[in-house]
């Protein structure tokens, strides 16, 4: 009896500690939301923690009225949609062909891909190639040069390998081509992994700052992260932003900054819960067997 009671105490403590860790993980998000929706007296007095005080959405009204944000949103959406589609197609093609065990040349081709994980030309040689292809300062430079992620390729190949072989074999005997098998049999069974890898690519494209910093020059092609950086850290909001005078401007800026952060992160937070159930399983399968 005593041991059983002891165990449950341990479990409760474990639960409490995990709850605290979870709260620490979540707190900064709540803090951002709270700032973005609080009145400026509350922000000024430093009372805002993780819930809004003097609730209002003026900051959102202001930020959504800015064309810069909408332009950046559009650029990032284009990159994310096109990039994710291209990345998924290429990764599926690579992973599926190289999951077929007796394809002549499979080993060599796999090594050809994996080698790029360990050795790369680096920032400047890649930059030179991208530039000489005329992709500098185009949105194309933000997804084409990094279309395939080797880790995602490995995870997906592992998933395909673990699918039951009998179905594909039966189809082969019936004379189906590999293209037909991929689209009619393999892909319908692979929804979880496609959702997972799709989410990884989409988030990477949505969040990338470095590629945009490297390749994008014209302000009208600024992606969201690039715009966010200049708004948050280079004081663009102070110059062109709020029309409130004096101290109000400064405080408004804090709410405005946080509203900008919230708006730019919202799309991820919206799709996350829907895809979450897939990716835990998907990554686990890939990482254990890979």
């Amino acid at each position: 009896m005593t041991t059983k009671k002891k165990l449950s105490v341990g479990l409760v403590i474990n639960g409490i500690v995990l709850f605290i860790i979870g709260f620490i993980c979540l707190y900064p998000f709540l803090n951002v939301l709270a700032y973005s929706m609080s009145g400026y007296n509350a922000v000024l007095s430093g009372k805002v923690t993780f819930y809004p005080i003097d609730f209002n959405i003026d900051a959102y009204r202001q930020i959504l009225g800015k064309t810069q944000i909408w332009l950046a949103m559009r650029a990032t959406t284009i990159v994310t949609l096109l990039g994710t589609a291209l990345s998924l197609i290429l990764t599926i093609f690579a992973a599926y062909s190289l999951s077929i065990k007796d394809l002549p040349g499979r080993k060599a081709f796999t090594v050809f891909i994996l080698f790029t994980m360990y050795f790369s030309g680096g920032m400047i040689p890649t930059f030179i190639v991208v530039k000489s292809l005329g992709m500098y300062d185009t949105l194309l430079s933000l997804f084409l040069p990094q279309a395939i992620n080797v880790f995602n390729f490995i995870v997906m190949r592992t998933f395909f390998r673990n699918l039951p072989e009998s179905l594909a074999e039966a189809a082969r005997i019936d004379g189906a081509s590999y293209m037909t098998i991929l689209f009619k049999i393999v892909l319908p069974l692979s929804i979880p992994i496609i959702a997972t890898i799709g989410l990884f690519y989409a988030v990477a494209y949505w969040n990338t700052y470095f590629d945009a910093l490297l390749y994008i020059k014209s302000p009208e092609k600024y992606t969201l992260q690039l715009r966010l950086k200049s708004l948050l850290f280079e004081g663009e909001l102070n110059n062109s932003g709020a029309n409130v005078e004096g101290i109000g401007t400064q405080v408004m800026t804090q709410s405005l900054k946080m509203a900008t952060v919230a708006v730019s992160t919202m799309p991820i937070l919206l799709v996350y819960p829907w895809l979450q159930k897939y990716f835990v399983k998907g990554v686990m399968i890939g990482s254990v067997k890979g």
Binding site: L26, G122, T126, V203
Partner: protein, 304 residues
């Protein structure tokens, strides 16, 4: 002859698969292998107008200049400091949190906690940097408000070199700790239940079971992860140090990637910048091979 024809016939069978591999091949050649050839400019006097091929060779001139440069070694040192500090905190913490999650009995509580812990992984570094100002600023950062309320002096998290390293580590741990648990949780689901039952019947306490069953069964995953992370010690993302860092802490926040960027893009010294990248790649490969040898020596699976 006959064998060749047989092989060709076999390959014809797989024509669709080869067709799928054509764009993959093109992608890797153009965006990965041609830049690999581009590293030759580390041994050249690169001239923008002549291009990679026609620029004249200059031997190890660029490397000699680089290795004599104090700033380069500072960047190397800072990269190692930040990586090791992060590893030191995040590695054990990730394992501990995985073990804790593994003990949770309520499926709902476990799922919700996991979802929350994974969330920061999906947030951009620009946003993390903005959040870090909210949390760590001296004047109205959340943490310093707590510190001051407790009667201490505000801590210069973002403007003092040493404290900035702490800030960097906290941000990294906050962002990646939950995500890091996935691989351990996967390994933990593979532990044989009957071992626990047997130990329970033998009267082993919970703690003993953890030490003698759970940890040994995920040992190989732990070793593999450790080796993988150590072999990446010379590699550091550019976004985190660049965005969380600021002019005041450049002494610790200037790492290899940011230095490469500043020299290569901002000052257009292509050869110098490429040389740094090559140094980094070669260093990584050497460490990786050594780590792999070491893993095999202690009886674990290699990673290559």
């Amino acid at each position: 002859m006959k064998d060749n024809r047989k092989l060709l016939a076999k390959m014809w069978n797989y024509r669709w698969l080869y067709l799928m591999l054509v764009p993959i091949l093109a992608y890797y050649v153009i965006f990965k292998y041609i830049p690999m050839y581009g590293v030759t400019i580390a041994f050249k006097d690169y001239n923008v107008f002549k291009g990679v091929l026609a620029s004249p060779w200059c031997g190890f001139k660029v490397f000699n200049k680089l290795f004599a440069n104090k700033n380069f070694w500072h960047a190397v040192r800072n990269t190692l400091i930040l990586n090791f500090a992060t590893l030191l905190v995040s590695f054990p913490l990730t394992i501990i949190v995985s073990l804790m999650l593994n003990e949770v009995r309520s499926a709902v509580f476990k799922r919700v906690t996991q979802s929350i812990l994974y969330l920061p992984h999906f947030i951009s570094w620009v946003v993390v940097a903005a959040i870090s100002v909210n949390m760590f600023s001296v004047t109205d950062g959340t943490i310093n408000m707590i510190v001051e309320r407790a009667g201490f002096k505000a801590i210069p998290f973002l403007s003092d070199n040493t404290w900035w390293v702490v800030t960097y580590v906290i941000c990294n741990v906050w962002k990646e700790i939950g995500w890091g648990t996935i691989i351990y949780l996967a390994a933990l689901t593979g532990v044989d239940e009957s071992l626990y039952e047997a130990a329970y019947l033998d009267g082993a306490t919970k703690f003993q079971r953890l030490i003698y069953i759970t940890l040994p069964s995920i040992k190989s995953v732990i070793v593999t992860m450790l080796i993988l992370q150590i072999s990446k010690m010379m590699t550091i993302g550019l976004e985190a140090p660049l965005l969380i860092g600021n002019k005041k802490v450049l002494g610790v926040s200037e790492v290899i990637s940011t230095y490469t960027y500043r020299i290569g893009i901002e000052r257009a010294k292509y050869s110098d910048s490429t040389a740094i990248g090559l140094f980094q790649s070669v260093f990584n490969i050497i460490v990786l091979v050594l780590a792999d040898k070491f893993a095999k020596l202690i009886g674990e699976d290699g990673i290559i």
